[in-house]
Amino acid sequence: MSALSAPAEFTLTRRASNRRNPVLWVLSHGLRHWWLVIIMVVGAYGNAQLAAYVPILTGRAFDLVQENAGAISAGLLTIALLIGGSQILRAVLQLGRNFGAEVIAQKVERDIRDELYVSLLGKSMTFHSLQPVGDTMARATNDVREVNFLFSPGVNLVVGSLLFLVMPIVFAPQYHWSLILTPLLYTVLYFFALRRYLKNLEPITDEVRETFGVMNTHLSEALDGVEVMKGAAQEDAEVKRFEENARRVRLANVRQGDLEARFVPLLMMAVAMGIGLFHSIFLYRQGLLQTGDVVAYMGLLLMLDFPTWTSIFAYSQISLGLAGARRILDLMNRETNLDQNEAGYAGEMRGEVEFRAVCFSYSEAEPTLEYVSFKVKPGQTVAIVGQTGSGKTSLMKLVNRTYDATGGQVLVDGTDVRDWNLAALRRQISIIEQDIFLFSRSIAENVAFGKPGAGSEVIETAARAAQADEFVQSFEKRYQTVIGERGVTLSGGQRQRIALARAFLTDPRILVLDDSTSAIDSATEDLIQRAIAAAARGRTTFIITHRLSQIRWADLIIVLRKGRIAAIGKHEELMATSEAYARIFRE
């Protein structure tokens, strides 16, 4: 991929899936493995049919014994061998069903995670800076797994148990046509009852989950804040609060238990057995059935037991899976609306930045930035100061078009950023975020992340300029130290210097540094000061900072308050014009 092709675009050739709705999407993934689907369905059918053979053959054995027509022993042996053999074959088919579903499930999990990941890589920076990582992670792990469970055990059990409902309907009529009535009626009524049951259950399980969640979060919050709780002598109040929450959990559990306790299909099953028995005895007395037929028929009716129990679990698994699929699809289908503007300006950047009456808001309701105007010459260092939520970070994200301004203009080198080729714009702007993410790889690889294949000499030079060399050398394996391995963790200040070293390697024209690390000791502070000063040399640098020293010596200071510029100028000017500014420099 060349550097100039659109950076926000990343695609790999993949078979297209149907992303219209969760059901179609899951289907399009599952049916890709049609041969496994066939194995699963054939296995499920064979499993159910051979399960039905047991009562059928047993019935035959009863008839054999009742007829008492000699050679009983040989006849019984044949039947026994048939039963044993059919059940071994049934096991093979059931394994086919189980493992077939399992393989589909695993393949689908792998494929949709791949699809999700490729889609995420193709999303714009805007998307990624708005989308919380924890949420994405939950979808890439939990939700993807839920879709796996949708197939195995979900679909596996639904297909498997449906066929168990079908078999009595298929085989009962061979004894007498009218025997189809009970299993057929049961099946129909069963679905109505199940639907009602699931519908009633849903709000209650939601309530159980919610009340438990509330209890759990409050509890862990109270325990994490135990020092405050004890310090404020609020133990009794907290216990009362907890008990209140625990009581709600109990109530929800009782409600769920009550509903589950009167699971109607179970009652229907009992009635169906009675009616079936009555029916078959009646036919027997009419001379229309033999003893073995009654035995076989009862055995067939007993097959209904399996779907009666299993379906609750199987259907809820499927609905959980579809919910997971919906969340994944939501994420993948979310539009990101920045255009790449490949035809745009793509020249060398000098680093002049100008904001003209820029307004920006994430949502209609609250403006994040209002009428911000300033101009920065190439090579200048700008300190951006303000309280959390004053719009500092958003301001900087307009420069590389992570977001587009909703009003006014942002210009780089006199060209509106929207007229720049997006790739060229971003290639020459580097942003070091407040939370610096390092990969669990070697320090060398982390430094060279933006320039893979950089030689070790280049890497070390960059690290030295970023004042990182000293602490890296203190590790046993130096630049080959893998971060996160064997307890190697880096402090905020060290991470920041690794990130600065990255910037030295990629040498951007504009550097944005979100600097909120605090140095615990003066020696580290000296190092950080040197590193930042070196990074700022020769390029336009924006520093979002709390450090008085960075503010003091910046070429331009922008003080933001509630999204507006509260004060702007050089230190000396601000000392004279702004009381709020002046007082922070007073001891």
């Binding site: 014994v65 039963i83 493992f99 759990n216 020092e227």
Partner: protein
């Protein structure tokens, strides 16, 4: 069903005897004796009824040719329906009763466990992470009470099997023997599969954790990879992890897919054997056709209890471990012991340490023979390296930990004679990472002083930089702070924590100052709030900010639990001793002089 439950119980060293645990668990159910009695009775009745069903169905075959048509047509289906319906009805009643009794037991246990946790001192929290305590209070209590469900379920199944067994032996002992000989085989297979499943699960857990970690890392790294346009590199890393996950899951899936087919095949073979030998016996008129049928129907009712028994012991052990964890939490001895519970109405803020010695663990003395007097109204700052004992001194004053030797007097009274809750109401404590509870800003401010009015809060807030900080909150005092205060910035959280102390008007103020960096405007407001408190209370400051040290009346320099220097900022700095060294290490870069020098420093 239980078969797959508890495949991977954690190793846990048990301290309590099983018998004591069982006794204590039984004790939890004592208040619900009546309910438990009903549940047990229902369980027995249900087992009896359950055993009747195959017997009646078996009999039915024999009665098919009875003369009395009406009887056979009504009685047998009638009994079968009646049995099924009453099983359903009794189960309903039993389940409803159980869920209530268990709900009450769990509620009681949870509340008691939480009260115990709330009353433990902080040394307890050093030993156990709050996550572990949460799981003891919320899930272990549940597992403990579930023991009852496990036991009644298995007991009812076993009872039913035994009843049936007696009937079977009385019917035909030879066929019974054949049937019983199947049971150890099924048990063996079930145990074998549990082992196998445990192995694959355990192996899988580690592999799964690795894969999940890799996926997590690659997901978190997307943004940075895009920043540097390294999509392909990170995709390769993701792809490797994703494929590995697939390979591993397929293996595990195969083992788990195998279990039921194997069991079904075995049961099928057993059925064949029973059909054959039963048929022979029936043909030889040793048994009736109905009895033969009874044997076939009984097979299932023996196999399920056997399967469940294979997992029973592990489940019981697991439940007992859970019980032990809950009881250990409730029983844990408090380290902080008060000799009296005198109420503390008004308190003079004088604090005196007399030969105090203190350690966290046996071999790590923090303070030895430590003496210090803090005058009422004095502002005292402690400085020193990490581990010098600054925080410990503050914690002892708050009585969060027990000290081992000497005395601590507060307002000339022994700290051990106080009623702790009433004593702590006179203290205002702000910890290094200020902690807020989810709720509004106002709720957090009045956390220690629930009767403070909004007007009072507002007038106090106004005294801090003209209340500017309240204006920057979206809804002022009514702003939701989010879980653990997460929706507020660090600086705002500190301001709220200081406000909490301000409305409380404590006699003694203990501040473990934050090290996080805060924007200079908020920092200025925090200093304002701090000065308001300092002027009103005896203050014990663990200082990290230069301005705070400077504001102190007296600075105590600590090293390894000893006072090595004391005085005020200017005097100590002039002296050029320990404090001057500490100043150069921790505070120099916070001074305005440093800000002025930086330009030269970096150009060097």
């Amino acid at each position: 069903m239980g078969f797959f439950d508890e495949l991977n119980p954690e190793k846990y060293d048990r301290q309590y005897k099983d018998r004591d645990l069982v006794k204590r668990i039984a004790g939890q159910f004592k208040p619900y004796r009546k309910g438990m009695l009903h549940i047990s009775l229902l369980t027995v009745v249900m087992s009896l009824i359950g055993a009747i069903l195959p017997i009646v169905a078996g009999r039915a075959i024999d009665f098919l040719n009875l003369e009395n048509e009406l009887l056979i047509l009504l009685a047998i289906p009638g009994v079968v329906t009646f049995v099924g319906v009453s099983e359903w009805g009794l189960n309903w009643v039993r389940r409803s009763l159980t869920v209530r009794v268990l709900g009450n037991v769990v509620l009681g246990l949870r509340t008691r466990a939480f009260r115990a946790a709330a009353e433990h001192d902080l040394s307890f929290y050093d030993q156990f992470s709050s996550g572990r305590i949460v799981s003891r209070i919320n899930s272990d209590t549940n597992d403990l009470s579930n023991l009852v469900v496990i036991v009644t379920d298995v007991a009812s199944q076993v009872l039913q099997a035994v009843l049936l067994g007696v009937v079977l032996v009385n019917t035909e002992w030879k066929l019974s023997l054949i049937l019983f000989s199947f049971l150890p085989v099924v048990f063996g297979i079930a145990i074998g599969f549990r082992r196998l499943a445990r192995v694959v699960t355990k192996k899988g857990m580690q592999a799964m954790a690795d894969v999940n970690a890799a996926i997590k890392e690659t997901v978190s790294g997307i943004a940075i990879a895009k920043n540097f346009r390294q999509e392909m590199t990170i995709f390769d890393e993701f792809d490797t992890a994703n494929r590995k996950s697939y390979r591993f899951n397929i293996q595990r899936g195969f083992v788990l897919s195998l279990i039921f087919p194997v069991l079904n095949a075995v049961v099928g073979i057993f059925t064949a054997i029973l059909v054959y030998f039963g048929g022979l016996s029936a043909a030889a008129a040793l048994v009736s056709a109905g009895a033969w049928y009874l044997f076939l129907l009984s097979l299932d009712r023996f196999l399920w209890p056997v399967m469940n028994l294979s997992a029973f012991w592990a489940q019981i052990q697991n439940g007992l471990s859970a019980a032990e964890r809950v009881f250990a939490l409730i029983d844990a001895e408090p380290a902080v012991v008060q000799s009296d519970r005198q109420p503390v109405e008004a308190l003079k803020g004088e604090v005196r340490f007399e030969g105090v010695s203190f350690h966290y663990g046996e071999n790590e003395p923090v303070l030895t023979d430590f003496s210090l007097t803090i005058q009422a109204g004095e502002n005292l700052a402690f400085v020193g390296h990490t581990g010098s004992g600054k925080t410990s001194i503050a914690r002892l004053i708050a009585r969060f930990y027990e000290f081992q030797g000497g005395r601590i007097l507060v307002g000339s009274r022994d700290i051990r004679t106080f009623d702790l809750q009433s004593y702590r109401r006179r203290l205002g404590i702000v910890s290094q990472v200020p902690f807020l509870f989810s709720g509004t800003v106002a709720e957090n401010i009045r956390y220690a002083q629930p009767d403070v009015s909004n007007a009072e809060m507002l007038s106090l807030a106004k005294r801090i930089g003209d209340g500017d900080w309240l204006e920057t909150l979206a809804d002022g005092l009514e702003t939701q702070v989010g879980e653990r205060g997460g929706r507020l910035s660090m600086g705002q959280r500190q301001l709220v924590a200081l406000m909490r102390v301000l409305v409380q008007r404590p006699a003694i103020f203990i501040l473990d100052e934050a090290t996080a960096s805060i924007d200079p405007f908020t920092e200025w407001q925090i200093q304002q709030a701090l000065h308001l408190i300092l002027s009103e209370a005896t203050s014990i400051l663990i200082a990290h900010r230069l301005s705070t040290v400077k504001a102190a009346d007296r600075i105590i320099v600590l090293e390894k639990g000893k006072i090595i220097e004391e005085g005020d900022h200017d005097g100590l700095l002039l002296k050029g001793g320990h404090y001057a060294t500490l100043y150069n290490t921790y505070f120099r870069h916070q001074s305005l002089a440093y800000v002025e020098q930086v330009k030269e420093l970096v150009s060097k």
